[in-house]
């Protein structure tokens, strides 16, 4: 129990370092208040992006500087802002307070808590806008970031520091892939740093954001996760700032040497919010009424996802931006912009989803430009063969539709492809450890499942995983090492699978 004397001493000590000099501020007057944007006169010394304090206590920031006035985007509702109100510049750019206390929290783009808990007391003020690291400051992407989803880790591997786009129509599982990736970061293989996850919800329903938070808590993946939420009910200004706020938080941890995963869900709504702001600011409208700098909006955001060189911090930010297409049109304006910025895309297809292939990844047009550099030797040795087999299967599948008699080699190829497709199906919220992924791909690639009906492949795989975790722990440890599969390991896998097959009832 602290006594009065100690409290007074501490207060005096604290106040001894307090200074208050006369303040000089640049002031102006509100001329107009329209649609969340106010036009102000005066403030001749204001800078672009500077925060403005309004008479009713709310804030805004400058997005347009004209000859005689400036346009200020309000960060609140602006209902109490009247013509003639005085406004003051603050000399500050937009920042967000960040510290370790943010882990396991839900905040808005200004850092204010949305989860009912108290706000973070002290934090480093990280700028929302920042120039991305230069070429010399970067390191090549060569460390895997495991999603726990077989199709992605095998064929479109993601590395730490990469930007991989998730693109598809509504309701095909884009957010599901991102959430599974976050869940998979709760455990890391030996020798790999933990990954801090940031989920940025832009223009989403509040119920959806709530479901995501609940699921992460259930899967014990929320303690290392931060949610930055700007739901659909928020002003367009907050939705515009949300991804930058998330990136500012990610940079705080990256500068400390941590690896960070950031999900932007989704950048289509982000583009819509920016379009709304630009139209209200009377900026010239271009294609699809987007402003001329819509590409720069996303390029400057995604370029901040980087793997820093070891001399600087050695940390990284891996970005998973999400884009929603309409009727599968990936040649639309915003999708093509983001595709050209990112280091690959995972394309989800509606007809695959409807036919039960989930995750509904189109393996033909999805790509990861980092590729094998972000894979362990073990995964590379099994995944390469699978990719080839699947490519051959896709070509032959068209012939199978004719119903004509096929030669044995073609039939075998088709059957192998079907088993690979069955094996690649995966339930939501069940990311796999790398050793189990390698095991699954290896047993199909070796032809061990060729004599098992393709409809039972999923059940076989699930039961085999349980068997391996109980009886083949040494084998799993070997696979975890990441080294390329030698003959001995392949024999062990075959032996274990054949043993289990005897017990498995199709």
């Amino acid at each position: 129990m602290i006594d009065d004397k100690t409290i007074i001493e501490q207060l005096e000590k604290r106040l001894s370092s307090f200074t208050d000099d006369p303040k000089t501020q640049n002031v102006g007057k509100v001329e107009k208040n329209v649609d969340g944007v106010i036009t102000v006169s005066g403030i001749s010394k204001a800078a672009m992006g500077e925060i403005i304090d309004l008479a009713d206590g709310s804030t805004g920031f400058i997005l347009n500087l004209d000859e005689d006035n400036a346009s200020v985007i309000l960060l609140g509702s602006g209902q109490n802002v009247k013509e003639g109100d005085m406004i003051k510049t603050t000399g500050r750019q937009l920042t967000i307070p960040v510290s370790e206390e943010l882990l396991g929290r839900v905040v808005n783009p200004l850092g204010l808590p949305l989860d009912g808990k108290p706000g973070i007391k002290k934090g480093q003020e990280m700028p929302l806008e920042k120039i991305a690291a230069g070429v010399v400051e970067r390191e090549p992407v060569n460390t895997p970031l495991k999603t726990g989803i077989k199709a992605i880790d095998a064929m479109f591997p993601i590395g730490r520091g990469q930007r991989e786009l998730i693109i598809g129509d509504r309701g095909l599982g884009k957010t599901a892939i991102a959430i599974d990736t976050i869940i998979n970061q709760r455990t890391q293989p030996k020798g790999r740093k933990k990954v801090i996850c940031i989920y940025v919800a832009i223009g989403q329903k509040q119920s959806s954001i709530g479901q995501v938070v609940d699921r992460l808590k259930q899967e014990d993946a929320f303690t290392n996760t931060i949610v930055v939420a700007a739901p659909a009910a928020d002003p367009a200004a907050l939705q515009y700032l949300a991804p930058y706020a998330g990136t500012a938080i990610a940079e705080y941890f990256m500068e400390k040497g941590e690896d960070v995963l950031i999900v932007y869900d989704d950048l289509t709504k982000h583009a819509w919010a920016y379009r709304q702001l630009s139209l209200v600011l009377r900026r010239p409208a271009g294609r699809e009424a987007y402003p001329g700098d819509i590409f720069y909006l996303h390029s400057r955001l995604l370029e901040r996802s980087v793997r820093m060189s070891d001399k600087l911090s050695g940390g990284s930010i891996t970005a998973l931006p999400i884009i929603e297409t309409q009727a599968g049109d990936i040649s639309a304006y915003i999708p093509t912009n983001i595709i050209s910025i990112t280091d690959g895309q995972i394309f989800l297809q509606g007809d695959l989803f409807n036919s039960g292939v989930r995750p509904a990844i189109n393996t033909g047009i999805s790509v990861s430009r980092v590729g094998g550099a972000a894979q362990t030797g073990a995964m590379k040795s099994v995944a390469g063969k699978m990719r080839l087999e699947l490519a051959q299967f896709r070509e032959l599948a068209a012939f199978a539709q004719f119903g004509s008699e096929l030669d044995p080699a073609t039939s075998a190829q088709l059957e192998r492809g079907k088993r690979f497709n069955e094996m690649l199906k995966q339930l939501q919220y069940q990311p796999l450890l790398e050793a189990l992924e390698i095991l699954s791909i290896a047993i199909v690639g070796m032809g061990i499942l060729d004599d098992i009906p393709s409809e039972t492949v999923s059940r076989f795989e699930k039961e085999f995983h349980a068997y391996a975790q109980k009886h083949q722990t040494k084998l799993l440890e070997t696979l975890d090492n990441g080294e390329k599969l030698n003959e001995d390991t392949q024999k062990q896998i075959r032996k274990a699978a054949e043993e289990f097959k005897k017990k498995f009832s199709a």
């Binding site: 106040l15 303040k23 501020q25 002031v27 007391k121």
Partner: protein
Amino acid sequence: MNDKIEQLVQKSYKNDRLDKHLMHVIADHLSRSELKRYIRALKQIEQKKEVLARTPKELTTDEKKALMSLYPGKRIIYTIDPTMIGGIEITIDDIMYEINLQRTFDQMVNYITNYD
């Protein structure tokens, strides 16, 4: 166009004071957009001629004389705001100089509250 408006604005003043009759004559001959620019320019000039002084209580005669000597040739408008508690706030054009005791107390509370 702006040069024309600037010239008209300058001609609207006689002996450093706005001639209202002249202002109306000029205004009658301007288009809507020109009139908007003319009014804006007049407001800017008038703003430069004014000094706003906000204090917690009425200033004494000597204090007012001291202010007038600091800003010769300008019109000083006095407002009283008791919530300031102490200090003075002077606004010239778009620059505000402020010593405000209420703000100092608020900052002090904030400073102590964020003590670690």
